[in-house]
């Protein structure tokens, strides 16, 4: 259980072709990184998995079940199994941190509001934000909001988690804590993590497998060693962060 497959996905927004035939497999329990330039279509690709976007062509399979043509309500059970941490955290401004995290518990678990809030505080403790439980998202910077978003994503104990740039804007110590949490979820609970990241320290720290998208296509799907040993100049330019090279900006 927990196998994800993207099969020949094409997606355009008006005249802009974002994905041009991307095929990927993610195995159960692995920490799978998707890397690439900004605008390469990484977030667009993963949003297809939970039906936030629909492909122009291609198929999305979850545990062998083709979910591509599922209706919005048919995706609800999938979204309970597959949580997503968005790039810009997306906390609800009108709620305190604890209410943000308690919301999915309150809506999907048979618990009282008080119990949901207690469970939410436990999740906040996981990311070190429990002492700010009654404060509002506007009181915090991007990094701390992202940690709360991670806590909220974990509330329903998902089998898969999509992390969209989880360590961007976070200090190095908190980033290491997030990396450790992702690795812990995979190693000890069997959670499958799809991580979109530009953070080379994270990528070469915790990734089981890495896929690089370039100009809407898959450039390489391999392990950390495959990337380090690749003689593709585009891959080398990206992982070394060089401003000059064959990669078109």
């Amino acid at each position: 259980m927990g196998h994800i497959e993207f099969r020949d996905i094409y997606k355009s927004f008006g005249p802009k072709h974002v994905l041009r035939g991307v095929s990927l497999n993610v195995d159960p329990g692995e920490v799978f990184f998707i890397i690439g330039q900004s605008g390469a279509g990484k977030s667009v690709l993963v949003k297809h998995l939970i039906g936030l976007l629909r492909p122009d062509s291609g198929r999305v399979l979850l545990d062998g079940v083709d979910v591509t043509d599922f209706k919005e309500k048919e995706f609800y059970p999938i979204r309970k199994r597959c949580a997503m941490v968005f790039q810009n955290s997306t906390l609800f401004d009108s709620m305190t941190l604890v209410d943000n995290v308690a919301l999915p518990i309150r809506k999907h678990r048979d618990v009282t509001v008080k119990e949901a809030r207690e469970m939410a505080v436990d999740k906040l403790r996981l990311v070190g934000m429990h002492t700010y439980a009654e404060r509002f998202p506007a009181d915090f910077g991007d990094g701390m909001r992202k940690k709360v978003a991670i806590a909220r994503a974990l509330t329903l104990d998902p089998e898969f988690v999509i992390f969209d740039e989880p360590t961007t804007g976070i200090d190095p110590i908190s980033a290491a804590m997030v990396d450790k949490l992702i690795r812990h979820l995979s190693d000890n609970i069997g959670v499958t993590s799809i991580v979109i990241s530009h953070d080379l320290r994270s990528i070469f720290g915790i990734a089981d497998r890495i896929a690089m998208l370039y100009q809407g296509k898959l450039l390489l799907d391999g392990t950390q060693e495959d990337y380090k040993n690749s003689d593709n100049p585009i891959i080398q330019q990206f992982i070394q962060g060089q401003p000059e090279g064959p990669m078109e900006v």
Binding site: R79, F86, S94, L103, H108
Partner: protein
């Protein structure tokens, strides 16, 4: 480019713009219809879906916070109605009809429409801006990702709150407008306020009150659907939120006058 091409393009352009404009209107009409349908489906007993805390929060924000501005507006509306009719009342000596004239106009139409416009400007615009900001910052997608239906969680509480609170605010507004009218008649026109209220009670019918209250429910319905629709349709960042709020306020105002006309005409 040949002269024939130039002539063809000259004629094509207005047609193109007209087509775009018509498509835009049909898109909005279709979207409003779909949202109304979704909301009505959630009102069915076996589909009933409300979030308690969100509904109470919205009730407070929509109703209680609007109370002072509605009271001030209504007192002034009552005063203006009495001052406007005062000239003719003096001329004909018909002091006993002052309460009826002001009360009839306030309860049937002026009260609900002016409170509706205030409500649309304050609550509807605020609602569109809030939902629009949630849309452009991916908070709506975040709700979907948490398996929470944005219509059930965000639109339904607002829909109920706006209908209930618009009704209650019109009840309060009608009462305060009559008090404002009575005070003005007493202190400005020297017409006894007891006579004013006697005139209201004697000549204004329960049907007149119900007519205005029916309008208030219809206004609340229209403002809720229009403001939520334009909020959920927002795209294009802060500029898009501004555009959505503008469309929402203009759309609500047009809808309010159209509904007022339709109900008034139907009741003839």
């Amino acid at each position: 480019m040949s002269p024939m091409h130039k002539i063809a393009r000259t004629f094509q352009r207005p047609l193109h713009l007209l087509g775009d404009w018509a498509m835009g209107w049909f898109h909005h009409i279709g979207g409003l219809g779909l949202l109304t349908w979704q909301v009505l489906v959630y009102l069915l007993p076996w589909k009933w879906n409300f979030d308690g805390p969100e509904t109470w929060r919205t009730m407070y924000r929509v109703g209680v916070k609007s109370f002072p501005i509605v009271v001030v507006t209504a007192v002034l509306v009552g005063a203006i109605m009495v001052i406007q009719s005062g000239l003719y009342i003096e001329q004909y000596g018909a002091h006993g009809l002052l309460g009826w004239g002001a009360g009839y106009a306030i309860l049937r139409s002026v009260g609900p429409i002016l409170i509706g416009l205030m409500f649309s400007g304050r609550v509807g615009a605020n609602n569109t801006a809030e939902l629009g900001t949630m849309k452009v910052t991916d908070q709506i997608d975040a709700l979907r990702a948490l398996s929470i239906d944005p219509v059930a969680y965000l639109v339904m509480p607002r829909f109920m709150a706006m209908i209930v609170m618009m009704f209650l605010l019109v009840v309060v507004g009608n009462a305060t407008a009559l008090i404002g009218g009575a005070l003005t008649s007493q202190f400005l026109l020297d017409v006894n306020m007891v006579l004013f209220f006697q005139s209201v009670v004697t000549y204004v019918l329960l049907e007149d009150l119900m007519h205005g209250l029916m309008k208030s429910v219809a206004f609340g319905f229209a403002i809720a659907i229009i403001s939520c629709y334009f909020g959920l349709q927002t795209s294009g960042g802060a500029v898009g939120v501004g555009r959505a709020v503008n469309a929402s306020v203009v759309g609500s105002a047009i809808a309010l006058f159209a509904i007022d006309y339709a109900i008034t005409y139907a009741a003839l």
